[in-house]
């Protein structure tokens, strides 16, 4: 019997994957464990390994397509085996994405899993944008990579006149810029000419779909309430300066950031109020055994939340080093599932963008997320805690946020 190579479930929340790249070719002999393909999941680009030895008979899925978990992507022949011409690979029912497990399981080595997530974006009666096509041709997505489609004459004239073709709307077929379009083109320096460009349509990436589904589910089903305090960061900033000077004097390549201080301050507060380190589980509340902090990292095409596990037990230097490694891996799409799956509490920091304050959407199944703004002229930072009221009541939320503030304002505690 030939072996069907299926779209694997590479993370607990993965329901489908986009086939990104083949690393082998039909006819290649492979051993179990060889990487056959790369798959873009809702979280990262991951490798698909062969589970058995064999020879690649054929690929049965196309690159770039989104395939449900369990869909055959290739057929392997066993050594010496001839695959019948009429052989049809079979689809295996996709295993359900895991639900939040019981506390006992959560305490095990694997971090707590995420809640089940429906793949499609949940919108009962979607209100969709009316597209401005701006040309007679079928709606073309904006040219990839910024390539401007223009006739040779238009290109030459634009170069001679110093015009930027990317600011010109093409009236030719498929939006091609032709010579007459340049007559109304904006001239260098003058911004008086209004240019209307066609809308572009970008297919959802698996990550975008996951973000949309998770956050829609959260905002629609989790009863959020919000608590806000301002923490005086003067002492924390001074403390950070001393700490970094200390590392520098010892030639250690550690530079603790404000965010690292907030991770540690939050982790210690959660350890102090374990009831807030929890998740809703339909008919129960899960209290996590570990303080695992998910930190939102902005990456190309979306964001991801790598986890600093047991942050309450780690030193600031360790947290800082780990966070740098995780952020780099996140930006390179190289996080392993265990590095972003689970987590008991999230932090989102937009302070570096100068945002004064904001309220974040809870990252299910967690029950709280801390939104951090920028320091004001008095070196105070707005901390906004979004809380799932099913799990955490106002008083507990207030105690948690108060503890975070206290930890930041008395930073000596952060070294313990």
């Amino acid at each position: 019997m030939p072996i069907d190579l299926l779209m694997p479930q590479l993370s607990p929340t993965m329901t489908e994957g986009r086939l990104a790249k083949w690393l082998k070719s039909p006819g290649d002999a492979i051993k179990a464990g060889d990487v056959v393909a790369e798959v873009e999941t809702d979280k990262a680009t991951m490798e698909v390994e062969a589970s058995e030895d064999g020879v690649i008979h054929q690929f049965v899925a196309e690159l770039g397509t989104d395939l449900p978990v369990g869909t055959p992507i290739a057929v392997l022949a066993k050594k010496g085996e001839t695959v019948p011409a009429d052989y049809q690979p079979k689809v295996k029912a996709a295993p359900k994405a895991e639900a939040v497990s019981a506390p006992a399981a959560a305490a095990a080595a694997a971090p707590a899993a995420a809640a089940p997530v429906a793949a499609p974006v949940v919108l009962a009666a979607p209100v969709l944008p009316v597209l401005n096509t701006a040309s007679v041709a079928p709606v073309a997505a904006a040219p990839k990579g910024g390539r401007v489609v223009a006739s040779p004459l238009a290109k030459r004239l634009a170069a001679q006149q110093g015009l930027d073709l990317s600011r010109v709307v093409g009236s030719g077929p498929r939006g091609r810029v032709v010579a007459k379009d340049l007559q109304n083109a904006p001239r260098g320096g003058s911004a008086n000419v209004v240019v209307r460009r066609p809308d572009s349509v970008e297919k959802l990436t698996p990550m975008r779909k996951a973000i949309a589904a998770r956050l829609t589910q959260s905002k629609q089903t989790v009863p959020h309430f919000y608590l806000k305090v301002r923490a005086d960061m003067a002492a924390a900033l001074e403390f950070r300066k001393q700490l970094n000077a200390h590392y520098e004097a010892r030639s250690e390549k550690v530079k603790v950031s404000v965010n690292d201080l907030i991770i540690k301050a939050s982790a210690l507060a959660l350890a102090q109020y374990p009831a807030a380190n929890a998740a809703w589980n339909t008919d129960s509340v899960v209290q996590f055994g570990n303080v695992d902090i998910s930190v939102a990292v902005s990456i190309e095409g979306g964001l991801i939340t790598p986890i600093v596990a047991n942050a309450d037990q780690k030193s600031l230097g360790a947290i800082s080093t780990e966070m740098k490694t995780l952020a780099a891996a996140a930006r390179a799409n190289q996080l392993k599932p265990e590095q972003y799956t689970g987590g008991s509490f999230s932090i989102s920091n937009l302070g570096m963008y100068g945002i004064e304050e904001f309220a974040a959407i809870i990252n299910p199944p967690q029950a709280a997320i801390l939104a951090v703004g920028a320091a004001d002229e008095l070196e105070r930072v707005a901390l906004t805690l979004s809380v799932d009221h099913r799990v955490i009541d106002g008083a507990l939320g207030a105690e948690l946020l108060g503890a975070i503030k206290a930890n930041l304002e008395n930073p000596v505690g952060l070294v313990l």
């Binding site: 007679v136 040779p152 004459l153 290109k155 030719g172 077929p173």
Partner: protein, 327 residues
């Protein structure tokens, strides 16, 4: 200026050259006693006698071989084919003997010869008698190829061909034989290798040859009524092509259409498009359009024949489409 039919212009060209040069003679089927299958040699046997206006059997391979040999030996033959479709039998002499001998003899043996006859689509003579061979001969180094569209060029190009030391293929057109036009008096020559702007215009260049030039001019009149100022460039000479004229025209209009009676594949239009791409790429504001015969053996049935060959209304429609930004 005398008003002549194309067949009279051809007769005058040959007669004038035969009077001027005793080495020139005409050979072919029915050229003498019958005065030419299409009456292109009227009165010539009477003037020059049967030694210089020679009737042959229906044997293209044979009489072409005789003529090519005569050309190599120092005469200047004019070979008339009843149609270029029949010259298929003689292509070995045209391509291998006439076109290549000058090169293969290291310049010692040339063949100043004219091969002429009707070419392209006439009226209901079916697939085997309707082919446009322009691109076949354009492909051959050592040959020159001309295709006149009016009486003046029929005379001027034929006289130039007879005087040329290379073998020259003259592609005439059955429908055009009866067309008439003014022909300059005297020793009128149309230089080989020069295209002619038959109608100046600024919006689009229409490149054509032979009968298609006539259609292009009619289409340009219709387009003018609709506000489109088309330039018609009569290529006249297909090998060598007048690259400068093509370049000059598209540099003015920035859009081009090529008309051909032949099929599109490896055709005249393809060569013109490649010329534009090589020499005038930065001038173009739209892809070049070509209108060709549909890729089927030409039907005999009149209605189908008409549909297979670009007609004036097709040209008008397609040129408008090009200018409306549909391409």
């Amino acid at each position: 200026m005398p008003h002549l039919t194309v067949r009279e212009a051809i007769r005058d060209a040959m007669s004038e050259e035969m009077r001027a040069d005793p080495r020139v003679f005409l050979i072919g089927e029915e050229v003498a006693d019958y005065q030419g299958a299409y009456k292109c040699s009227q009165g010539m046997v009477q003037e020059f006698g049967p030694k210089r206006v020679i009737d042959t059997p229906i044997a293209e391979l044979g009489f072409t071989g005789i003529a090519v040999g005569a050309g190599m030996a120092g005469l200047r033959p004019i070979v008339e084919y009843m149609t270029w479709n029949f010259a298929l039998l003689a292509t070995d002499h045209i391509l291998n003997s006439a076109a290549k001998t000058l090169y293969m003899s290291g310049g010692k043996v040339g063949c100043p010869i004219v091969f002429r006859g009707l070419n392209g689509v006439a009226a209901h003579v079916a697939a085997q008698h309707s082919q446009d061979f322009a691109s076949w001969y354009m492909n051959i180094p050592g040959l020159k190829v001309v295709a006149p569209a009016n009486a003046a060029d029929a005379k001027g190009l034929l006289k130039a061909a007879i005087r040329d030391d290379s073998p020259v293929v003259v592609l005439e057109h059955e429908v055009l034989y009866g067309h008439s036009g003014e022909v300059p008096e005297g020793d009128y020559i149309t230089p080989i290798g020069k295209a002619h702007v038959a109608r100046p215009g600024k919006d689009v260049s229409i490149f054509a040859y032979s009968m298609m030039t006539v259609k292009a001019l009619a289409a340009a009149e219709e387009l003018a009524k609709q506000g489109i100022d088309a330039e018609v460039v009569d290529l006249r000479s297909l090998r060598p092509l007048d690259v400068e004229a093509i370049k000059a025209s598209v540099s003015k209009t920035h859009r081009a259409v090529v008309l051909e009676e032949t099929w599109a594949a490896a055709g005249v239009g393809a060569e013109v498009i490649a010329t534009i791409s090589d020499h005038a790429w930065d001038e173009m504001d739209a892809p070049v359009l070509r209108l060709s015969q549909l890729p089927v053996p030409l039907p005999y049935a009149s209605n189908l024949e008409t549909k297979c060959v670009p007609q004036v209304e097709d040209i008008v429609r397609e040129v408008k489409g090009l200018l409306d930004g549909q391409r």
